[in-house]
C-alpha cells in the first residue's frame, strides 16, 4: 500500500504542480475579464523548453550548468517527504522538518550562486534580495513549526499533521489561524508572488526570482521553472495539511480533501494577485516583518496560554 501511495504521490507532484500555476492564472484572467491562457499553458511551456537547445553565457561555470538539475531533484525530494492525504511521506523521522528546511536552504544557496555566476548586475540584485527576504521567510516557517509542534506535542511532520484534527482546531483555532496566515505569507515570498514579487513584470530591476533565472535557457530553464512550481506545491501542501486535517479518515477522503484544499489555495493566490498590487521593493522588508510578527504573536499565544 505504502509503495503505491508513494508512486501516486510522485505522479501527483510531477503532473499537478504545473496545473497549480495554471489555476492561478485562470483566476487572474477571470478577475481581469479576460479569457486568459489555457490552464495547461505551463505544460506547453515545459514541453517547448525541453525540446530546445541551450545558450550559455561564456562567463558561467559548472555551477550554472548543473544547479538546475540539482535544484529540481532536491525540491522533488522535499515534496516526497511532505505527508499528504493523511499518509506518510517517503520517510518520517523526528526533526525531519529541520532536514527539509535545510534542503530548501541548499536550494537557495545553489540558486543564488548560479545567479551570481552570470556576472550580471540584474541577477546579482535578484540574488541579493533572495538572500535577504528568505531570512524572514525561514524564521516565520520555523516559528510556525514550533507552534504546530507545541500544539500537537510531536516532532515530526507526519505525526504533527496526524495529531491535527477538528477538535484540536476548535480548541486552538486562533493560534492555528494566525500561523496559517503567516505560512501563507511564507508561501508567497518563497515562491515570489504578489505582493512581494510579480512574476509577470519584465523589468529586471524590480524582480526577485525571475531575474535570477534570466540567463537560463532551454532545458535548464525548464528545470528551473518546474522547480519553482514544485516549491510552490511544497509550501501549499504544507498549508493544505493544516487546513483540512485528513489523517483520521479514509484514504479517499484524505485524497480529495488534499486536492480540494490545494485548489482552494491556488484560487486564493489568484484572488490576491488580482486584487492587490505588489509592494514597492523597499517596503518589502516591512511587510515581511509584519508577517513575521503574526507568527510571533501566534507563538506568544501558544506559549503563554499555560
Amino acid at each position: 500500500m505504502e509503495n503505491i501511495i508513494i508512486f501516486l504521490k510522485i505522479i501527483i507532484i510531477l503532473f499537478l504542480a504545473p496545473l497549480f500555476l495554471g489555476i492561478i492564472n485562470k483566476v487572474k484572467a477571470f478577475f481581469g475579464g479576460r479569457e486568459g491562457q489555457s490552464v495547461f499553458q505551463m505544460y506547453y511551456d515545459l514541453f517547448k523548453l525541453f525540446n530546445k537547445g541551450i545558450v550559455y553565457s561564456k562567463t558561467t561555470t559548472l555551477i550554472f550548468r548543473y544547479s538546475p538539475v540539482i535544484i529540481f531533484s532536491l525540491i522533488f525530494f522535499a515534496n516526497l517527504m511532505m505527508p499528504s492525504f493523511g499518509m506518510k511521506g517517503l520517510f518520517s523521522f523526528d526533526g525531519d522538518f529541520i532536514f527539509i528546511i535545510y534542503l530548501l536552504g541548499l536550494i537557495r544557496f545553489l540558486i543564488i550562486l548560479s545567479a551570481m555566476d552570470c556576472g550580471s548586475s540584474f541577477e546579482g540584485m535578484g540574488a541579493s534580495r533572495e538572500a535577504w527576504f528568505s531570512v524572514f521567510g525561514e524564521l516565520s516557517f520555523f516559528i510556525s513549526i514550533i507552534v504546530l509542534s507545541s500544539i500537537t506535542g510531536e516532532t515530526s511532520l507526519y505525526s504533527m499533521f496526524s495529531k491535527l484534527n477538528l477538535s484540536l482546531w476548535s480548541t486552538n483555532s486562533a493560534v492555528l489561524a494566525l500561523i496559517l496566515i503567516s505560512l501563507f505569507f511564507v508561501l508567497l515570498v518563497e515562491s515570489s508572488r504578489v505582493p512581494f514579487d510579480d512574476p509577470n513584470t519584465h523589468l529586471e530591476l524590480t524582480m526577485i526570482h525571475e531575474v535570477m533565472i534570466l540567463d537560463n535557457s532551454g532545458v535548464d530553464f525548464g528545470f528551473m521553472i518546474y522547480a519553482s512550481s514544485l516549491k510552490m506545491w511544497f509550501f501549499a501542501s504544507f498549508i493544505a495539511n493544516i487546513l483540512l486535517p485528513s489523517s483520521n479518515y479514509s484514504f479517499l477522503y484524505g485524497f480529495f480533501a488534499y486536492l480540494i484544499s490545494m485548489f482552494f489555495i491556488a484560487v486564493i493566490i489568484g484572488i490576491i494577485e488580482s486584487t492587490i498590487a505588489r509592494v514597492r521593493l523597499l517596503k518589502v522588508p516591512q511587510l515581511l516583518l509584519g508577517s513575521f510578527s503574526i507568527s510571533l504573536v501566534a507563538l506568544v499565544f501558544q506559549v503563554f496560554r499555560g
Binding site: 525541453f50 525540446n51 530546445k52 537547445g53 541551450i54 545558450v55 550559455y56 553565457s57 561564456k58 562567463t59 561555470t61 555551477i63 538546475p68 538539475v69 531533484s73 532536491l74 522533488f76 525530494f77 516526497l80 517517503l90 520517510f91 523521522f93 523526528d94 526533526g95 525531519d96 529541520i98 532536514f99 535545510y102 534542503l103 536552504g105 541548499l106 537557495r108 544557496f109 550562486l113 551570481m116 555566476d117 552570470c118 556576472g119 550580471s120 548586475s121 540584474f122 541577477e123 546579482g124 540584485m125 540574488a127 541579493s128 538572500a131 535577504w132 531570512v135 524564521l139 520555523f142 514550533i146 510531536e154 516532532t155 529586471e204 532545458v219 535548464d220 528545470f223 522588508p285 506559549v303
Partner: protein
Amino acid sequence: MIIILILTLVFFFFSFLSFFIKDNRSLNRINSFAVYISSLIGLAVSLACIYLHRDFLELEFVKKYFYFDYYSYFFMLVLFLILFAVGIYSEDYLKKYTKPLNFFWFNFYILIISMIGVLNSRNSFLFIFFWEAMAFSSFFLVMTEYEKKSVLNSGLIYMIANGVGALFLLISFSIISDSSGNFQNIYLKNSYIWLMILLGFGLKAGFIPLHIWLPEAHPAAPANISAIMSGVMIKMGIYGIIRMSLMVKVDNYFFIGKMILFIGIISAILGVLFALAQHEIKKLLAYHSIENIGIILIGLGLSIILRTYGLYDLSLIAFFGALLHTLNHAVFKSLLFMSSGSILNATHISNLEELGGLSKKMPLTSFSFLIGSAAISGLPFLNGFISEFLIYYASFKAMKAGFYSFNIITILALAIVGTLALACFTKAYSSIFLGEMRKNIPEIKEKKDSIIYSMFILVFVCFIIGILPYNSILFLFSTYFSKFNYLINLMDILKIFMYMGVSYLFIFAFFGIFYFVRKNALKNRKIDYSLTWDCGYSMPSSKMQYGASSFVQPITEFFRFIINSKSHYPEINEYFPSKDYHFSTHPRAVFYETIYKPLGSKLKKLSSRFSFVQSGSLRLYILYILIALLFLILWKI
C-alpha cells in the same frame, strides 16, 4: 598515552633541529614532513582511544599530573586532524617567504607542544605554563610578517588580550586547585568564580564582547597559522570551559547554563552580522569564527540547562552537538583559511570587491572554498549540518517535554544565524570566484601542489561526516552510546541519522535520473555560447557586476544600528559627470571603537600618572619586592 608523550618529544627535538637548517626549502620540506607524519600517528592514536574508550599504555606517575581521558583525546583529535592538513599545506605555502624561517618553525612546534600540554594538564601550574607558552608562540607566529605596520598593531592587541585572559585564569585557578596546584572537583556556593573562568577562557575562545583580537590577528597571520589558530587554538577556550564545567560545580548551575547560552546567542548573531559587512576575506572568516564559537556555546549552554531540567538524554545530545561542531568548525574553517591563503598567494588581493572570476583560473581552490562555504552555512550533505541538527533536535525534543523559553530562543537564534551565514558565504564565494575578474591579473595559475592536496583532505572529511552521519556519530561518541544505551532519545538519534543517510541516497538517485533526462533532451540540440544578457548593452564591463557590498547592502542597511558601516562618496553636482567618482564603504570594528579604544586611552592616562613607580632604578625595584614579601608575611600572621 606513551605515544602522545613520544610525539611531544619528537616535536621538541624538531623545534631545536629547525635552528640548524640554513636552507629554507629543505627546512620547510623536513618540518612539514615531520609534522604531518607525526600528526597522522597522533590522529590514529586519538581515534583509537576515542572509539575503544580506553587508554593504552598508561603510566601511573604521568596520570597524576596529566589527564588522558575522553575530552582530552577528542580535542587532540581536532588538533592532529588539522595539523595533518596544515603540515602538508605548509610545505608549498611557505615558499613565498624568502627570509629565514627557523624561528617560525621553532614557534610552530612550541605551539603544538603547548596545545597538547594544555589539553592534558591536571595541574594548574602546568596548565598556566602551557597556556602562556601557547600565547607567546602564537604571538610570534602572528608576527611573522612583522615588517608591516598593520601586523605590529594587530600583534599588540593580541598580546594584551592574552595577558588579560591569563590574569583571570590565574585568579580562578587559585580558587579551584589544591595546595600543590592540582585541579580538584569542588562545589561552591556562589557562582562568581564562573565569571572569572568565562572571562579567562573567553578571551581565548573569542566570543563577543571579548572577540576584538580575532579579526585583527587572523588577517595578520600567515594562512596556515590562521588555520591552526582559528581551527584549534580558540577551541582551547572551549575545552577549558568544558573541563571547568566538569569540575567546578556551583549552587546555581542553571544560571551558568543561561549565561553561556546567552553569550553564545549574542556571539553567533553579532558575529555573523559583523561578518556580513566585511570585505576582507580573512576578516570575514575571523568574524565567522566568532559566530561558530557562539554556536558551540549555544550547544554547551543548552546542554547545561537541559541537565538542570533533568533531561539527561537531550542534554547529552546538545553536548554532542557542541563537541561535534567544535570538530566541524575546525575542519571547515581551516579549509576556508587555507583556500584564502591559496587565493592570496595567487592574486595578492584580499579585498572581495577587487576579486572575481577566479573559478576558471583556480578550479580546485574554488571547489574547496565552495565546499567550505556550504559546510559553514550548515547545509545538508556536509558536516556543519549534522552538528546544528543535533542542537535543533535537542531543543525541539525538550520543547515536547514542556520546556519552552530557552529552547525557542535557541531554535530561532540558530535559524537566523543559518540564513545570515548563507547570505554571507554566497556573497564571499560569488565575489571571489564567480563572474568576471574585476582586476586583470594575467599570470594566475594553479599548481597541483601540496596546498591543493591538503585542502582536499579537509574537503573529504567534510563529506565523510556529512554523508555518513550515522557512522561518524557512533564512532565519535561510542563511549556514551554504550554507557547510556537505555536512554531512548539517544538511540533515536542514530535511527534518524540512518534515515538521513538513506535520504541522501535517494537524492543522488533522483539527480541521476533527472540528469539522464536532461542529457537525453539535449542529445540533438545545439549548445551555444554567448554573452551574459545585459539588456542589449553591447559593451559590458566587469565593473558592472554586482559586488560584495551591493549584495549585502539591504541587510547591512536593515541592521545599520548594529553594523554601522561608514560610506564615503563625493557629492555629484554636474549633470554630466566627467570626473571619476568613487564610492566606498568601511565596516567598523564596533566593539573596539566604542568600548575598548576609549577604555584603553583612559587606562593609559591613568597609568601615566603612576609612571614614577617605574623609575628604572634596580634598587627601588628590589625594595618593592621586599615590601611585598613583608606584607605577605604580615598578612599570613
